[in-house]
């Protein structure tokens, strides 16, 4: 018996690693990935980065140019996430199993959430750029639509987790739908929702950089500009500022989480 278990386990492992190997070789061939080049590029990048990719005294001159862009990007991410959260709250209340008004609302809002979550942010950026060109609104809306799907799903799960008990208790006392929402559902799920909201802001600042590179807005555009001019000292300063911003926001939201959860 014992032998059987060990052979079975070994065979299982063998099949698993063989499948991994076949998939890896297949992927390497189809993506034309040069394995050796890939790994040597790491050392090359480190050497190059050490000698070129650091902010020098001269690059500090761009600070007055970048700061407004950074501010714009951070504010844009916060505004997009906040507005998306408000809308996501409504959608999730309509879509959650426990608080939905009727089946049709639930299906519609779940459908909207799923559609928005799966449309790639690149597609949003492309469609929006056609109508809004290079204004901050392009980035704002791309981030907004992307967050809306994710936050609706997260909020819906939070509301479902809060559970039925308090809702049933309130229903028994004859409380109206809005009483139940404002007295039981929202207070109980608010901490978790704010935690998701803060997480989304962190993610969105990084995504805003991507949208910026694609659509030519915000801090992503600044990076792209210096990068394409081969002004790597300036580009590295942009990266450094993004890193500091993201870490500061992460620290703040971790502290908030510690208090509210």
């Amino acid at each position: 018996m014992r032998d059987d278990i060990f052979t079975k386990r070994r065979n299982g492992n063998l099949v698993f690693f063989l499948a991994l190997l076949i998939l890896s070789v297949g992927s390497i061939i189809i993506t034309e990935y040069d394995v050796i080049k890939g790994f040597t590029s790491i050392t090359k990048a480190v050497i190059w980065g050490g000698s070129n990719f650091y902010p020098d005294a001269e690059s500090l001159r761009i600070l007055p140019e970048i700061f407004p862009k950074l501010q714009e990007t951070v504010l844009m991410s916060i505004a997009a996430t906040t507005v998306a959260a408000v809308l996501a709250l409504v959608l999730s209340l309509a879509g959650s199993q426990t608080t939905r008004i009727n089946r049709i609302f639930s299906i519609v809002s779940r459908g909207i959430a799923s559609l928005f979550r799966n449309i790639p942010i690149v597609a949003w950026a492309m469609v929006l750029m056609i109508s809004f060109s290079q204004s901050p609104l392009t980035g704002y809306l791309a981030i907004f639509f992307g967050s809306l799907g994710f936050l609706t799903r997260a909020f819906m799960e939070t509301i479902d987790e809060v559970g039925n008990n308090s809702i049933e208790a309130l229903q028994a006392t004859g409380a109206s739908y809005f009483h139940i929402i404002f007295q039981a559902v929202l207070p109980a799920s608010m901490p978790q929702m704010i935690s998701w909201l803060l997480y989304m802001i962190e993610t969105n600042i990084r995504d805003a950089t991507l949208v910026g590179v694609l659509t030519g807005t915000g801090i992503g555009f600044s990076f792209d500009l210096y990068y394409k001019r081969f002004d790597y000292h300036a580009a590295s300063l942009v990266v450094l500022l993004i890193v500091i911003t993201v870490i500061v926001i992460e620290l703040v939201s971790n502290n908030v989480r510690r208090v509210i959860l």
């Binding site: 890939g38 590029s41 980065g49 916060i78 790639p120 950089t209 991507l210």
Partner: protein, 305 residues
């Protein structure tokens, strides 16, 4: 002595604050100071958590209003922009059509993107397995875990697109830069997930193995990894889904090829919304297949253990 005075002073402060909410100020104060079990009802208005939440909401609202009031609209007709977007969006979703490539070519490019995501996840998973072991508090000394956690946090702070572009300088634009660049975020994400799965392992198991004279590697391969393999695999699948979305984005923004590049060309170069719609549907279909696949695998793994 001093400490006691401090407590009395603090209590008085709280009661004073409460008086603004409570009419029966004195009776409450007596209650508060004499009895052990008290009704904390009115205090809830003041507890730290709700103050923090209100502050966060207020802060975010103010920043949002500030953003919209200082927004540079650059002579864009916002209303027209929205109606245009709506029309474009409708064209995109209701009339998808590909004219620059056949269905076969599109599928080939989807497979390229899947390949990019797979290699990224593989590299990320292997490195993260090692770092995850070193970052788990029950397996490594505190200094090492802190070092790894800090390292991983810095990696995560740099957006993926910037990692890819930085590597593109050394490796040239293409799949090599994209895979290595995207691996960084996978490493950071999976290290955190793996180390938390490892930390769930009961301490007594490790102690029992240590007492029997097992070395670190034996503990890892006989106890830690077998007991957390379900979590490891489901986190890795989840990351694969994320990496697919990332690979689409990197194809568009960093020339990594695959379906993302087609999407970028269709939208940013040819302005062909029907093609954007076609590619979007293709990506959504793959994303749904991956989600169903990973839910199934998760179910199966949980059943087998």
């Amino acid at each position: 002595m001093q400490f006691k005075e401090l407590i009395v002073q603090e209590t008085n402060n709280i009661c004073e604050q409460l008086s603004s909410y409570e009419d029966r100020h004195t009776s409450f104060k007596e209650l508060f100071l004499t009895k052990d079990t008290i009704n904390f009802g009115p205090i809830k208005l003041l507890d730290r958590a709700s103050i923090a939440m209100r502050t966060v909401i207020l802060f975010l609202t103010v920043l949002t209003i500030y953003f919209f009031s200082t927004l540079d609209y650059q002579s864009i007709d916002v209303l027209k922009g929205f109606t245009d977007t709506f029309v474009n969006f409708k064209t995109m979703l209701l009339n998808p059509y590909a004219q620059r490539f056949t269905l076969g070519e599109a599928f080939y490019n989807v497979v390229v993107t899947l390949g990019l995501a797979f290699l990224t996840t593989l590299i990320g998973g292997i490195v993260a397995l090692l770092l995850g072991l070193l970052a788990a508090q029950n397996l490594a000394p505190k200094q090492v875990t802190n070092l790894i956690k800090g390292f991983v946090a810095i990696i995560r702070a740099v957006p993926t697109i910037l990692w890819v572009l930085i590597f593109a300088v050394a490796a040239g634009l293409g799949s090599a830069a994209a895979i290595i660049g995207m691996s960084f975020h996978s490493i950071s994400y999976l290290t955190k997930a793996y180390s938390e799965s490892f930390e769930d392992l009961d301490r007594s198991v490790i102690e029992a193995l240590m007492a029997s004279g097992a070395n670190w590697w034996q503990i890892v391969f006989q106890a830690v990894i077998p007991s957390s393999v379900t979590y490891l695999l489901s986190w890795t699948f989840l990351r694969f889904e994320i990496n697919f979305a990332n690979a689409v984005a990197m194809g568009a923004a960093a020339g990594a090829g695959g379906i993302g590049f087609d999407l970028f060309m269709a939208g940013g170069f040819y302005f062909d919304l029907r093609e954007v719609g076609f590619i979007t549907y293709l990506i959504i279909a793959i994303a749904i297949v991956l989600e169903v696949f990973s839910t199934n695998i998760k179910g199966k793994l949980q059943k087998s253990i």
